[in-house]
Amino acid sequence: MFVLAAGLPTILPAQENKFGADGMPNGWRDDPTIYISLAEDGTVTVTCHRSEMGQGVRTSIAMVVADELEADWARVRVAQAWGDEERFGNQDTDGSRSLRHWFMPMRRAGGAARTMLEQAAAAQWGVPENEVRAANHVVTHAPSGRSLGYGALARAAAMLPVPDRGTVRLKESSAFRYIGKDTVGLIDNYDFTTGTAVYGIDARVEGMLYAVIARPPVYGGKVASYDAANALKVPGVLKVVTIAPPPIPSEFEPLGGVAVIARNTWAAIKGREALKVNWEDGPNAAYSSDTYRARLSEAAGKPGKVVRNEGDVERAMAGAAKRVSAEYYIPHLAQSPMEPPAALVRIVDGAAEAWACTQAPQATRGLLAKRLGLPVEKVKVNVTLLGGGFGRKSKPDFVVEAGLCSQAMDGAPVKVTWTREDDLHHGYYHTVSVERLEAGLDASGKPVAWLHRSAAPTIGSIFAPDPKHELPFELGMGLVNTPFDIPNIRAENPEAAAHVRIGWFRAVSNIPHAFAIQSFVAELAHAAGRDPKDYLLELIGPARIIDPTKIGDVWNHGEDPERYPIDTGRLRRVVETAAEGIGWGRSLPKGSGVGIAGHYSFVSYIAVAAEVAVGDGGRLSIPRVDIAIDCGPMVNPDRVRSQMEGAVIMGAGLATSAEISFKNGRAEQNNFDTYELTRIDSAPREIRVHLLPSTDYARPLGGVGEPGLPPVAPAIANAVFAATGKRIRQLPIRDQLST
């Protein structure tokens, strides 16, 4: 049951009262015959139906299956599923939930396959099933000393019915050999290090053509007229075709424009340069980041839609000994995976086949079918490796573009490649926001009232015309579910209109919410003359269990609030661990400082403690970051570590240098020279990851891919304050320290 707080929109999850994988479109499967094949030479192939984009899911899913299957890792291979949710269950690789949702189904699949091998062996020897045991690729009958390898049993086991899931014995977690251990390496690492790994941009088939597309520079714009004469003179250019502009809001549709199809990518790029296109810019032609920021700020200065309300903020604020307020600005960002969007599509005999680096193969399949006018069964989406995703590749617009280009070439295979400029100019950008916070402190400096206004265009704007408010899933990313021990607390969401495509970016709305909240906590600590870490712990309050639906979060990351309540004890523990890790309180040279931030998201608890040094001319360096995570029980600790390391580096980038800004509706950054990502010289020199141990695999798993990111920027900004006394209220920091 959902308890809706007053004033909340009555938007419930798509499938009411269904949580986790049950609540996802097409749910889950645990039939081993879908995911596991065993060859007669003993090779086990695990089919991974989640997209690999650097989180290590192909390794981790295979580890789970192999462990329950009692397989020898050396004989485990992984294959990638094509897009087919009827068969594989939900395949949307987003929301940091692959293992959260699939740990148990994959264990059961592995356990069922192991059971079938044991049954086959028992039948062959004519002994009771409970006398045989599978271990490390061999089934043994101890009483008679007989044993058979998995390969030898493959054929017989495959003939058996899949046992009922209720009868499958799962391993005791103490017997895990792979799960929770650092015993295996990345399953794709040889391919990664030898250049044989195949990404979407690498797809090749016989007779393929190559395309790049000129898209409207302003969202909602379209081609007014164009002249392809010079483009067609470029050697290698074969054809120039228009792609119709989508209705606005454009959802996952391509943006339209003019496609140049050529014998090779370089010819297509040069052909595009030679195109003359007159654009009709449409209603967003005046969108400029500086004026829009002022508008957001104005909205955040006035009361807005109440999305959480406890106690009486007005009264408490009026009676407070001291009032503190601050406003923060967090700009648009582009996901910019190192592999830009790219896909290959061909159409043969009324059937389309795609090769794509997609996080959402099923949505890709559906939209391709729709736009190509084919039945869904006639569309196959092969999922390649993804050279990073970060949310960008959950949108299939680029794959549909390839489909439309193929159609224009009578079904010939066409690969569409987005150049980096395309990626930065035509993205699904991270939102832009102004976060305004105000607190009333009592005489001891403790907050008695807390008011947070978040003004940011919503991702809902790509689906519905002109929505002005954040959706429950955005509010539930750190705005309404801040678990602070404050008696009077209110969150408001003033209106904000979107003028570009807003999309998911790793950790999504948690980025601005956590930046503002965790910066403001440190500001309050300063105002109260207190240690920021102690003050943060005091705001989190004593260890307690909070029902997220009781504080206004109807979404709760799609998880059952009973199974996944907010546990402030866990949040406290990561804060304490990160602080201890960095040596909180130790003396530092002049110009150095440490800062801390803790944030709950994707049902995991993370804290970051950062040490910065600010040198001559305001040059910022980050000698060290300690990050602590409690994500519940872990499948692959080393990939948890690597995700935390990556989050710290991406977080350092958005804290210090990355921004997408707009002028006249156009993104101002073109490439990595102006959209500045962290490089080795600006990366934190040392990153220490602290994994909070959890060996109880009956407890639910938390997310890992995204939640590391939100606390990084505020920890750095807080460290900058400790080092210099300069408070960062606008990201990125860039040259703010030079004056």
Binding site: F192, T193, W266, M338, G388, E645, L677, I680
Partner: protein, 154 residues
């Protein structure tokens, strides 16, 4: 028409002279381990060795390469992934998505060729390739591991 020596094999390719070596390697020669990411020599995803020097192939027109110059791509770095840098990358599980890693490995191999015992400072100055996944700290550790003959961690 251009003649290129790639991984010890001579390839005759029919391309416009201004075509960047990157696209020739990927599309005409068909070796896709060398990656595109920025096209303006900013990120290093396209790094190959030209006569042993790490070179960003996305801005090198094929007309500027002579048939005598030895081009080595990731596919030619070792026959079986056994170059010390590749081994160190395996040992420390450096990659996340892996996309930038072939360029990183080529840059690291060239660095170690020129400077077999690089300091942290040397690595920071020489390794300018972008990794959006954020594997820099492992890259640093793996370069040191490779420099130490793969004998010890860190």
């Amino acid at each position: 028409m251009a003649s290129l020596t790639i991984n010890g094999t001579v390839h005759e390719v029919d391309v416009e002279p201004d075509t960047p070596l990157l696209w020739v390697i990927r599309e005409q020669v068909g070796l896709t381990g060398t990656k595109y990411s920025c096209g303006i020599a900013q990120c290093g995803a396209c790094t190959v060795h030209v006569d042993g020097v790490a070179t960003r192939s996305c801005t090198l027109p094929v007309s500027a390469v002579t048939p005598e110059q030895r081009i080595v791509t990731i596919e030619g770095l070792s026959p079986d992934g056994s170059h010390p840098v590749q081994k160190a990358w395996l040992e420390l599980d450096v990659p996340q998505c892996g996309y930038c890693q072939t360029g990183q490995i080529m840059a690291a191999a060239a660095l170690l060729q020129a400077n077999p015992q690089p300091s942290d400072e040397d690595i920071t100055v020489e390794m300018t390739n972008i990794c959006r996944c954020g594997t820099y700290n492992r890259i640093k550790a793996a370069i040191k591991l490779a420099a130490n003959g793969g004998a010890i961690r860190g």
